[in-house]
């Protein structure tokens, strides 16, 4: 798989639709999952993916240096707008149906961690997921969330330490 920056550069420079297609196919499933993980309804998540890519394709060529950060920035802003429009509607709980590709203890840990992350404020959840799940660099996360890079580095370390502290506090939902 080619580097996303290179793909978008090809798309902007040569109008290479194949490069854009490759970028879309590598990013859209994970963007959909990200939106669902952040509490969007699965149906709404498709609409958000569509709208995010539509805006992305219109504007990315102005500055194609960090396309993934730009895409997630658009998507998180769209999600915030959607939440404002439907403020009365509660956030969608994470789907129970998780792919069964790991042993029991790992699945329990994963479930516990998702619960802990879900208790964090909106911005901190975005920061953790973009950095440790989506795999954006500190600089890209800073660009996506409109924060200084130093703040992102510091907050990432603090949040991981905070999760570790909280890990043993609430064991009621887990079994050994």
């Amino acid at each position: 798989m080619r580097d996303p920056v290179e793909l978008i550069r090809l798309f902007c420079r040569d109008g290479d639709a194949g490069a854009f297609r490759e970028f879309y196919r590598s990013q859209s499933p994970r963007l959909w999952k990200f939106l669902v993980a952040r509490g969007s309804n699965p149906e709404d998540a498709y609409d958000l993916v569509s709208e995010a890519f539509l805006r992305f394709v219109k504007t990315v060529c102005r500055d194609p240096r960090a396309p993934r950060a730009f895409l997630y920035r658009i998507a998180t802003n769209l999600r915030i707008d959607a939440l404002r429009r439907a403020r009365a509607r509660p956030t969608e709980p994470l789907p129970e149906e998780i792919a069964d590709n790991s042993d029991e203890s790992v699945r329990e840990q994963a479930y516990h961690l998702r619960e802990l992350v879900g208790r964090l404020p909106e911005r901190e959840q975005n920061l953790l997921l973009l950095r440790y799940w989506i795999g954006l660099s500190h600089q890209e996360v800073a660009h996506a969330l409109d924060l200084p890079e130093g703040t992102v580095r510091r907050q990432c370390a603090e949040l991981i330490a905070k999760l570790r502290e909280c890990w043993g506090e609430d064991e009621t939902g887990t079994t050994d």
Binding site: R25, R107, A110, G168
Partner: protein, 126 residues
């Protein structure tokens, strides 16, 4: 039984695996979005292309028409008789044209006493 908390490194790795295990999206839905996205720039490019072709064809047709018909148009220009305006041309009769009442009423500006009295040649000698 109290669980031993994972290390910070393990938590960072666990975040990735915990969310990666979420259900996958419907590939057909994503493919439909992809098609809609890629349709847009293609249609716009085709639109511009047809405008360009149309402008070139129209220009070529215009140039061809002028090349064929230039001589006849110039000939027509030479054959056009010179039309002398009746206001400038000398009258064929010696009688001066007498303006009708309606013409005089329309052309004479209101409030001009000389025009209201009429031409001098109709006044009797005393």
């Amino acid at each position: 039984m109290k669980r031993e908390p994972p290390t910070e490194r393990e938590i960072a790795d666990l975040i990735a695996s915990a969310f990666e295990d979420l259900p996958a999206p419907d590939a057909r839905r994503l493919a439909a979005i992809e098609e809609r996205l890629l349709m847009r720039p293609r249609r716009r490019a085709g639109f511009a292309w047809w405008w360009l072709v149309g402008a070139l064809v129209a220009g070529a047709a215009s140039a061809l028409w002028w090349a064929v018909n230039y001589d006849s148009v110039e000939g027509q220009k030479e054959a056009v008789p010179v039309v002398i305006s009746p206001t400038v041309a000398p009258s064929t009769s010696d009688q001066p044209a007498r303006p009708s009442r309606s013409e005089g009423a329309e052309s004479a500006p209101a409030g001009n006493p000389a025009q209201k009295q009429g031409p001098v040649i109709y006044q009797r000698e005393r």
